[in-house]
């Protein structure tokens, strides 16, 4: 099921984009970038609802009812949580909406990783699997082997740049930074630092960059290209709404309300 519904279509989509670009150097990297843009377009409504949800959370901070319950139940966290949930429900706000697009990326990440490894076929066995994965219209024999070079990287292997004999994982760092920036920018602002959803969001903005950075460190660098492009597109999408609060990017700071 996973193979038929996720890995095979993704691999074929990648191969199809690659075949359109031609077999030259850097083309598989470009194919991954175009693939990422396509995924972003497909998941656009989801991301838009995330932005909308974050805006609703920002607006909620100015709500009198919201501010009252923060003051009234400041010392009773259980009651405060109950009241917050009530307000969320009344106003139709999902406090975890900002996490959803990130979580929904996981199956895409797994599928893409498997597709990249499948498409690059680094062993005879994986070449055989690739032959079976390709849809007939692709004329796969003319495009394999795929050129795995992209800029300074081999997309089938984890990336690092040797500096003074030490392998610096450049892409892993960029992945962690862009994930941090994206999660901070899309994190809803709160008036109350003790707000549970805000704390959860803060934790996510710390753990998610570490997690994805670790993936980038461990996995084929093709997946890092996906992470970076996807993060940058997410940042651009959010910044385009004019709601991005760049002060949130300072580590340790509780996200504050946008001036807007």
């Amino acid at each position: 099921m996973w193979e038929t519904l996720i890995v095979q279509p993704m691999t074929n989509l990648l191969l199809w984009i690659y075949s359109l670009l031609g077999p030259g150097p850097h083309m598989f990297g470009l194919a991954i970038i175009l693939f990422t843009i396509l995924i972003r377009i497909i998941t656009w409504p989801l991301n838009a609802s995330q932005v909308k949800g974050a805006q609703a959370m920002q607006e909620l901070q100015n709500d009198k009812d919201w501010q009252d319950i923060q003051k009234k139940y400041a010392k009773d966290r259980e009651k405060l949580a109950q009241e917050q949930m009530r307000v969320y429900k009344e106003k139709g706000i999902n406090p975890f909406a900002s996490c959803l697009p990130t979580l929904i990326q996981f199956p895409i990440i797994i599928g893409l990783y498997q597709s990249i490894i499948r498409a690059l076929a680094v062993t005879p066995l994986s070449m055989l699997q690739l032959a079976r994965t390709a849809y007939p219209f692709l004329n796969i024999e003319s495009i394999i082997p795929l050129n795995s070079r992209f800029l300074w990287m081999d997309l089938s292997r984890p990336e690092s740049i040797a500096i003074f004999g030490f392998g610096l994982p450049t892409l892993a760092i960029i992945v962690a930074v862009t994930t941090y920036v994206q999660s901070k920018l899309t994190m809803p602002a709160t008036a109350n630092p003790g707000d549970q959803s805000a704390m959860m969001g803060n934790m996510m903005s710390i753990y998610m960059p570490l997690l994805l950075g670790w993936f980038a460190l461990t996995f084929a660098s093709g997946i890092s290209v996906y992470f970076i492009v996807s993060n940058l597109l997410g940042i651009i999408q959010y910044a385009a709404t004019g709601r991005a609060n760049w002060r949130n990017l300072i580590p340790g700071e509780v996200p504050v309300r946008s001036k807007k």
């Binding site: 066995l125 082997p145 993936f215």
Partner: protein, 354 residues
């Protein structure tokens, strides 16, 4: 909240572990196989095994304990000076020389220069080792493992180089056959054969015979000129087997072909045992032996009639002959090595101890 924090961290840790297990199996492949008169040498994952052909017991294994950086899938090769050479597809890119008698390591070249897996079998020619790597370079070593030179050919190199006694021929996945002068490692000619060449070539009296993913069997002369000899229904993986004036080869659609080189015509048609065939056929006397992905050992006569014996698992490794035995190394089967007699009857099996 501490509990929630703990749960969240645990969920992240679980996600990390799950995703890692989904993704980090970078190297897996079917086994490599070689044999001399007394032993079979099986390269299967973490170990290379030597198996005594009389007692069919394990004589040694290398390394003694599994090393995550070492994965062996290439066909080992026995050199005239008494080495067993095998490259690792693991992360340290080691090319290893073993004593075939004891399994002791003679030398290991961790090879900081090589960036890819060793999938191809090296060639020893004129007292030098020619080792193609998946990074697209052909490395040249002295018999003691010291580095001599290397040349960038481009495309992953998965197949053993062959020689006509003067020049060296290296097939690449990037569709090219490289003809190299070993005196200076200069390319004499590079020929595009129109499809990936994963399995290498078979030298003949006047040139080479090569199967490609373009579903063609090609003839390549020493000057690099080439002409298609025959089409196939599917991709040709293993190099053809030359027997006098007849060329036997198979394809991934499961066909076995017999091409008469004198007339350039097929001796039979529609010979399709029971599954895709990646390995080269083996010709002994009047019999042709092939193995299939369906896990079968197939014995054909020269008229194309065949008998199928089920071995189990999937078989992609070319069968190897030693004395009266034909050795078959299945992949993902209950046993690692199966010995047959010339009549196609199973004689013994070998399964490594845990």
């Amino acid at each position: 909240l501490n509990t929630k924090r703990l749960i969240l961290i645990s969920l992240f840790a679980m996600a990390a572990i799950l995703l890692s297990s989904c993704g980090t199996a970078p190297v897996n492949n079917w086994p490599g196989l070689a044999a001399d008169a007394e032993r079979a040498y099986l390269a299967s994952g973490s170990f290379v095994y030597a198996i005594d052909l009389q007692s069919h017991n394990q004589v040694w294994r290398y390394p003694a304990e599994a090393d995550n950086a070492l994965h062996f899938y290439a066909n080992p090769v026995l050199t005239p000076d008494g080495q067993l050479l095998i490259g690792s597809a693991g992360t340290n890119h080691a090319l290893v020389s073993l004593d075939p008698a004891t399994g002791q390591e003679k030398w290991a070249a961790p090879f900081a220069r090589a960036r890819g897996e060793w999938i191809a079998t090296p060639l020893m020619f004129n007292d030098l080792i020619y080792a193609p790597n998946a990074d697209g370079r052909l490395y040249v070593l002295n018999p003691d493992g010291t580095f001599v030179d290397s040349v960038e050919l481009g495309g992953a190199l998965w197949s053993a180089p062959v020689t006509d006694g003067g020049l060296i021929y290296v097939a690449s996945l990037d569709h090219h056959m490289h003809i190299i002068d070993p005196a200076n490692l200069q390319s004499v000619k590079t020929t595009d054969l129109g499809g990936a060449i994963p399995g290498g070539a078979t030298p003949g009296p006047d040139g080479l015979y090569v199967g490609t993913f373009a579903s063609q069997l090609q003839f390549v002369s020493a000057s690099g000129d080439h002409e298609p000899l025959a089409e196939s229904e599917g991709w040709i993986w293993g190099p053809p087997a030359l027997d006098g004036e007849t060329l036997y080869y198979a394809d991934l659609e499961g066909n076995v072909y017999s091409l008469d080189l004198a007339t350039v015509s097929q001796n039979w048609s529609g010979v399709k045992p029971d599954g895709p065939i990646a390995a080269s056929p083996l010709v002994i006397g009047d019999q042709i032996f092939v193995v299939t992905e369906a896990g079968s050992f197939v014995v054909l006569d020269r008229a194309g009639k065949f008998n199928v014996t089920q071995v189990g698992g999937k078989i992609y490794t070319a069968p190897v002959v030693s004395g009266d035995l034909i050795l078959v190394a299945p992949y993902q089967a209950g046993t690692a090595l199966v010995a047959f007699d010339a009549a196609g009857k199973q004689v013994w099996t070998f399964t490594p101890a845990e």
